[in-house]
Amino acid sequence: MLILAIDTSAVASAALISDDAMEGVVESFATEDTRSHAEVLAPGIEKLLGDAGVSGADIDLIVTGVGPGPFTGLRSGIATARTLAFAWNKPLFGLMSLDAIALEVAESTEAQAEFLVATDARRKEVYWARYTLRDGQLPQLVDGPHVGSASELPDLPVFGAGGGIYADVVKANREFSSTQPDAASLGQFAMALLTAGEELPDSTPLYLRESDAQLPGPRKRAL
């Protein structure tokens, strides 16, 4: 099985995941900056497919990160994934983007029985979720995702760039202080879930915040 995974909840990233390949990852790319998704994502995917010698017909399904993440960047990945799935006529699923970091934590020597994953939500807030981990199993989401002030997080170790930014107020794990959700990990998570016979959710974005639109108040009358 070959999965194309895309995540743009923080940086722009894409990966080809196969259950035949070593470690599962055939090809992957990720940018460092969080503001050029619309420019880099399509060329990145084009190169990814070219380098792997893979065409749309070879891909079995597409997985996209559905956030949470800054809206415009997040949408660029979901729009890309939905359109590719339509054009290639392939099934499309969505995974919560923080799962990508949770899987990396689980596979690292830093793993904890209970932990938080957090990313930058801008405006002095973080996106975060709480996971539990049992030996040999996938991390289990037990609370979240939420958006809120870092100072209000539960008192648990925090993994991911959201912890790194607010290391003064949270228990940020140093090894993971700049880790962003990455399509390669997200795709591996999806592969693991599918292998375990689980069903994957759809690609509905997790915005967590309203659109910021203000309802116009009644006009003041000049009396």
């Binding site: 998704h37 420019e39 939905r82 359109t83 339509f86």
Partner: protein
Amino acid sequence: MNHPSHVNEPAVEPLVLGIESSCDETGVGIVRGTTLLTNTVSSSMDEHVRFGGVIPEIASRAHLDAFVPTLGEALHEAGVTLDDIDAIAVTSGPGLAGALMVGVCAAKALAVATGKPLYAINHLVAHVGVGLLDGDAGSGTGGPGPGGRLPENLGALLVSGGHTEILRIRSITDDVEMLGSTIDDAAGEAYDKVARLLGLGYPGGPAIDKLAKQGDAKAIRFPRGLTQPKYMGTAEEPGPHRYDWSFSGLKTAVARCVEQFEARGEDVPVADVAAAFQEAVVDVITSKAVLACKENGITDLLLGGGVAANSRLRELTGQRCEAAGITLHVPPLALCTDNGAMVAALGSQLIMAGIGPSGVAFAPDSSLPVTTVSV
């Protein structure tokens, strides 16, 4: 980029799929040469009603959910498959940044998935490009250029919720010039704000147009922005805003007028205010547009944008163009408002002119200048 063959051998009548997402309409249109096959539009207008104006984030969310269904419907209506398409065109600006991003990412994904060339094009010029589609060209109600040929001395007056511009088009594919534009609100925005002031709902244009018919446009005199000599200058020595518009002062004047009626404890003569406001907008738009035409040798004028539906704007533009010896062209209304067919129509012109595609690495540009027809 491996976008083979299409560039060197432009198809005689290319089949082009156009994508538009610069404001609140998600549009997919398909054109073969200059023949319109389908124009599918999904609007998020209803979701903006309670806010009295387009909310960019709401529009962007709606684009994301509407795009694939709109694409599927367009292909179905046109009876073509993605395989049949020769090229893809997408609005890359100007427009709302977050909204543009959705259409651009989707268009790039389509290009990557199909290997077809992608053209990133200018939204304003696409409003003119729609005039090149075949159709009802007689009696000044259709496009100016059926069969793909535009008149030599063409201008375009674009009036909508997002823009108010007068352009000169020497070549639709590579020589377009902005003669004048609004320096603050677009005309359609002014309509929305005044409609809210008068309690008429959103969108404001149709509501004010309808009510104005029952009012006396001469009952109140509202200001015409940027018409003083210091802004206008003369034809020989033009002032800084000779062909530009401003509507924010007008909006303020209407608000003050309404407040004065209320302060005196009188009923606001809503129909008169609507009529007088509309007259002020339409008068200044048409007088400056016709002036720009006369002084720049423009003999044919295309009217585009959603406010082209306004009955008084059409009437007065028609009268003043006739008096000035200018031929007015108004495309069918469904092609005046934002749509994907206009994007496809311009894409088709670029291909037939042998212009190369944009690749998939360009960035959308919310303030793309009109001189950049394609990226």
